[in-house]
Symmetry: C2
Subunit: 416 residues, 2 copies
């Protein structure tokens, strides 16, 4: 559905990076006709022997069949291929859903000559429709033969659904003096929209990092990136974030990392976290109907956890989000969102700023508040809300977008 | 702002009841010019000596000054007057806010010859603007002189803000063989919108019920009425529900009720609960931009509390609400909302129905599902979503409305 009647988000980047190829990582896209004819709906990524894998998945109690599959196979620690399809989420499909993932993995394993348990799967699209995995017959083999390792932008485009722009990012850093690369892609425009807008992200590196270390890096890195983003407070049955490490940088003398506390990992960790945050922010910037990108920072909370809850209470408030859409410096709605979070907060210690403009201080409107200045600030594309609770040292930042009529349009007219 | 460019909700009742007068309860409205000229913005209700009072208020950590005032004075158990104003919420106004409530109560107490601690106050409107309570000088006295006890509809109209229709309800039941009356009014169109759409409700009865019993009745009655309704998941700094009992039915031989377990209270309790639910449902039916009224029932949960959380997860999901606005039987979004609630749920035991149409059963689409039938059902004004979890005996129902472009318009364009 990408682009169908929906203009590219005004918050899209003006240009895209060109991530370098990673030895042995090759990919291709195809049209399997899962739901619509004439559009790319399958991505195959093939990875070299020895690739380690880590994953973070939806917290939904009703996860999709591919999520169940990936979780089960993560234990093996190794990956040889990733198959992503759009058009059908294979969620809430019962026993048939499980059979479909088994068949998909079997087809890919056969074509690539690897074990089925080393095939990872992700699906987005409608919920509750059986996925006919026989459609992958031939298609996956064809992808395998055509696969190449350069056009990351095309791969990112292939996994788009209601996204209005592809999301890719790349970093190159040193481990033990040797350059390693991290390339990532993401899709997602609502945190959910089980029909199509599930969040998926796949990150690849040639760094030689053991699976348990990779998992530790990914789990921690998710906290302040993908888990700090909300579009509409909804969570998909299919949200999937995976990190693959081929280890091929070893051939260039890169040391194998087997301990999460290894000091040689410091630059890699920072680069990975920055890349995850960049991708996550793209998701918020492509939020369905978004016209403004919003960061919400809460400081002075009793704990970081409390700061996060208050920040999300603000970032998920429909009234805060519609006010931002209306370019209205309606800080009273921020007060209300702080108040409803259920976390420690004292009205008379509260300070609220919109960008550089302090609007409220010590439980009342700032004496120096200027409606004209603050209203002018609200015309910006990027809005920063800062709340100082004055209670402790807990601090956190989350990211979201405004709530516009276009969001309602996209999600109300979606299946029709 | 009632009616300003906003048509009356299609979900409004076709006619209004005419609640009977209650001995000694008289009211009048006036224009105090709090924020706008030429519109009614003050309601005074005067009540006879011996009136008992109970109240339930916002859970917000940043309550308004009038909420603080009412909470503090509830301990006295007695009430002689209620002053409600729109145009200014007197919330987040610091020490000035406290001074404003003290002055308002002092003016009313002086005019009516009662104690200030027996004056209850509620304010809705913008947050953070100091409320100039001197504007009540003269106005409240004038109201007191003009007050009468018949036109409840006018009183309900006076407290409207973004409401598109007045909300009143009445019941007559017997206590100890004597007729008593319960009259109620409410306002509210978002659960919040601290600017204007705070939920306020005031209920009056001539039953002779002691304050502690009244409080017990009200607290329990709120659970399945006002606390079971959501428009946009937001909570106001000013939400106020008060129940006043004049006790004047004693003059007609009605027994005084001093024990919440008194069996003579049974019919009254049922009638009060029904009236509270009726008013609460009016609030959802007048939800900002609402075109459809939605009830969500969750059964088979591990507990009633768990059922409520799951029901609210569905009722607050922007994706469920936009799908209903689009008349889309998108039950996948209901699955996702169940999944994200964080409560015990098993995908493969889940059954979902839209009205009479079972759409999902045992973790997959119902084999008998008919897209045509279900889509036809979604064209109804009233939509019923039922979820059966198959885990236990916990059950609950909550009420909401759809999420339309008009909601975004009303809340995005509000202060401009």
């Amino acid at each position: 559905m990408a682009g169908k009647n929906v203009p590219v988000s005004p918050l899209a980047p003006k240009s895209y990076p060109r991530p370098p190829a990673l030895d042995g990582v090759v990919f291709a896209t195809a049209e399997a006709g899962i739901r619509y004819k004439g559009r790319t709906d399958v991505l195959l990524v093939s990875m070299p022997e020895g690739t380690a894998v880590a994953g973070v998945f939806t917290t939904s109690k009703c996860p999709s069949a591919p999520v169940d599959w990936c979780r089960a196979n993560l234990a093996g620690g190794g990956a040889r291929a990733l198959v992503v399809n759009s058009g059908n989420a294979n969620a809430f499909t019962g026993m048939k859903g499980q059979e479909a993932v088994e068949l998909t993995a079997a087809i890919a394993a056969e074509e690539l000559g690897v074990k089925a348990s080393e095939i990872f799967l992700a699906s987005t699209g409608v919920i509750g429709e059986p996925l006919d995995a026989t459609k992958f017959n031939g298609v996956i083999g064809d992808c395998a033969r055509r696969a190449e390792g350069h056009n990351w932008l095309d791969a990112a485009k292939a996994i788009m659904t209601t996204d209005t722009f592809p999301k890719i990012a790349t970093r190159t850093v040193k481990i033990g003096g040797v350059d390693v690369t991290i390339n990532g892609m993401a899709k997602g425009a609502g945190m959910i929209a089980p029909d199509m807008a599930t969040m998926l992200s796949f990150v690849f590196t040639d760094a030689p990092i053991a699976a348990p270390v990779l998992q530790a890096l990914l789990s921690r890195g998710t906290k302040n990136s993908f888990n700090a983003v909300t579009v509409d407070s909804d969570t998909s049955t299919s949200d999937t974030l995976m990190l693959f490490a081929t280890g091929t940088a070893r051939t260039r003398g890169c040391p194998q990392i087997t301990d999460a506390k290894d000091p040689r990992l410091a630059a890699f960790r920072r680069a990975l976290n920055a890349l995850l945050l960049e991708l996550a922010i793209f998701v918020a910037r492509d939020g369905e109907g978004a016209r403004k990108f919003v960061s919400v920072t809460v400081e002075g909370a009793v704990s970081a956890r409390s700061a996060r809850r208050i920040a999300f209470s603000i970032a998920n408030s429909p009234l805060v989000k519609t006010a931002i859409a209306g370019e209205d410096a309606n800080w009273g709605r921020v007060v209300a969102a702080v108040g409803k979070a259920g976390e420690p907060a004292e009205r008379d210690k509260l300070t609220i700023s919109f960008g550089p403009h302090r609007v409220a201080h010590q439980g009342a409107r700032d004496p120096a508040y200027s409606e004209a200045d603050t209203s002018a600030y609200m015309k910006n594309e990027d809005i920063v809300i800062r709340v100082e609770l004055g209670l402790g040292r807990g601090k956190d930042t989350v990211y979201t977008c405004d709530l516009t009529k276009a969001y309602v349009e996209i999600n109300g007219d979606y299946r029709s």
